[in-house]
Symmetry: C2
Subunit: 429 residues, 2 copies
Amino acid sequence: MNKNNPLVVIVGAGFGGLQAAQSLANTAVEVVLIDRNNYHTFIPLLYQVATAQLAPEQVAVPIRSFFRGCSNVSFLQGEVGQIDFVAKLIQVEEQIISYDYLVLATGSRSQFYGIQGAKDIAFPLKTLSHAINLRHHLLHCFEQGERELDSEKREQLLTIAIVGGGATGVELAGALVELVTHNLQKDYPRLKPQDVTIILVQSSDRIFAEFPQSLGNYTAKKLRRLGVKVMLQSRVCQVSCDGFKLNDGTYLPAATVIWAVGIEGAIPRSFPFPQTGIKGKISVSSTLQLVDYPEVFAIGDVAKVPALSGVAPEALQQGVYVASAIKKQLQGKPLKPFKYFNKGRLAIIGCYSGIGEIGKLKLTGFFPWLFWLAVHLVYFPNWRNRLMILLAWLHNYIFRDRAMNLILSPSKLTRINKKVAPEILKIKR
Amino acid sequence: MNKNNPLVVIVGAGFGGLQAAQSLANTAVEVVLIDRNNYHTFIPLLYQVATAQLAPEQVAVPIRSFFRGCSNVSFLQGEVGQIDFVAKLIQVEEQIISYDYLVLATGSRSQFYGIQGAKDIAFPLKTLSHAINLRHHLLHCFEQGERELDSEKREQLLTIAIVGGGATGVELAGALVELVTHNLQKDYPRLKPQDVTIILVQSSDRIFAEFPQSLGNYTAKKLRRLGVKVMLQSRVCQVSCDGFKLNDGTYLPAATVIWAVGIEGAIPRSFPFPQTGIKGKISVSSTLQLVDYPEVFAIGDVAKVPALSGVAPEALQQGVYVASAIKKQLQGKPLKPFKYFNKGRLAIIGCYSGIGEIGKLKLTGFFPWLFWLAVHLVYFPNWRNRLMILLAWLHNYIFRDRAMNLILSPSKLTRINKKVAPEILKIKR
């Protein structure tokens, strides 16, 4: 550690923060990268962990492994506490660090809009732990559903509702269809694919609001053909252990409600922000700086940048930008505003289907599906996992076999079981 | 399910229970295999999960995957409750099953001998969850140890004590030496291998009591050369959050105490056993039957069989035996006593060293090490994991890189931190 070099503290090792640290590696600054976890999560593949396609270890990479042999970047695992912008101090658990530059890249978290039961009962899918919990819960529902003799209860156990028709919701719906169609009966001979109901609830009148209407229509049609109940213009107003309520009064029984809607900037509550924008995001200038503190940057999902939609390439480009902005500031050069270069967008539906928009080109079907997988493999940040993911996909698509079906923790389902009186059932004779 | 066939209920899908079910697959009996987990754990490789060499998914196989396309075996995930041996009824959560034959294969659990703090604070290594918890805790200690400025506290964080000089204790000690020597400094540049202290505590005067004295001596010498503090004739009499006490009054500070000694049969507490043997094992006849109930068998670690030492091949051979014994009983044929065929024993130390005893042949060094790895790969029950484990080992030994360094859950360490007043430290300037 060279104490004469300026110290850049980066909070959060998601796409933006990790990229910023990598862009500053082996330059004339000291970097301290802070994250509450010791791993970087490749969020776009979380839904494959939740649906038992990939192992948790395959979509997460230990942060320290990125900076081996790189002496100017150190990693600190911990929760960030208070920040003093005037004195340029940041607290990380028992330490207080005095920074020269600060990059806030804390990402986003689920927003539940105060809907009753949503926060406590629905399953979000923003972190690796969320994905593991959801996987365990789903497998647990299948285990319970197979042995359940009461048809109403069985139906409830085998109903999976997804709230939100954006990328996460659609990916999950498609992946669940794949799981149920190709894998379920192999392992649960008494469960038929049609026993499982998958519902996608979307508040607006279309799926994929960020894509052109025609692609949203294609997706809805495709999902319906795959057996997903797509409910448009429906709003969930209550989630309970055994189901959920729509705001037209309809009650639907479901043991699983997945929360794939609503995001707010994950600003630690202890941050004394001089300005906060809508949806809990941090307001930044066109150069991603806090207006009053030019040495503080905010990037990725936590920053409020107009016209961005919260995808990984945006955070990655902001990470590169912020690293060069710090170097320019050190050289006394002026900063140009951040500009996002949009290479196009892809979304996967599943079952060999996807959609894409590249410039004016609109794609649907097999090619955007394959392209999505290829792009995510290429963008995965290390070789080892890339190989492992490729092997898992090949195994999965060739043998139609998912090997990740382990239930490692007790499920929320126990709550449901406790509500009914234990029935003594006799199997055989 | 053919209701006319006799029903065999097998409790526990470890080596013995799983083998019994596999040997009864596609025969003229119905089999219900019960386990509290939905996966089979390959216990001999748990220590590699604990030391971040293998991923949890690599040493566990979903039980249902063994019985695909096999209509006479069904799996039931659940805890076993009461057994009525007279009425031949067994309770599994809300169900009561009426069996014709019952195979008890519930394995073993750690025995803490009532030593103060051992059960609550020390880390056992009997299940997959134990291995994952221990991995998280160890990595957490490295994270905290690297940033700790107080040298006494740092030493405590980086001291790992292993209680028990049997196979698990030695394997762990060797694997920890590998981890600390080859991997630690790559990820934690401020930690030197010699900063970490590994202690192996054994109550008797030798390591590996079940092997000939010379092999035990070789192991102790080898471990000492690798830097492990081997303490013979030492008994732990108290474990606390910050260390442990020996019965000669010595207190040693250590953030990690691993419990690798003491095993008792894992007899569910609700079982009304007509007879129980020493160490909580079930007394069985030479044909592995309960004396008063010839339709009930006990196999593996839960059964008290003289001259057996609790290794996987014993349980596997008992699984095969019990399947054929049931078939013979159905045909009215008499049973011959169970005889264990001992092919030899191997144990791994680590760092390219192992020991072995095959007939009168005693082996030490590289070949038993390699042989151990090969045998465990061959005995692994499915192809997919076998390939994954081989790849992980090759990756690990060629690149000296462990990819499983994720901390997925909070560590017990927080208890230690809460005990000290938070110190405000300033790094830099």
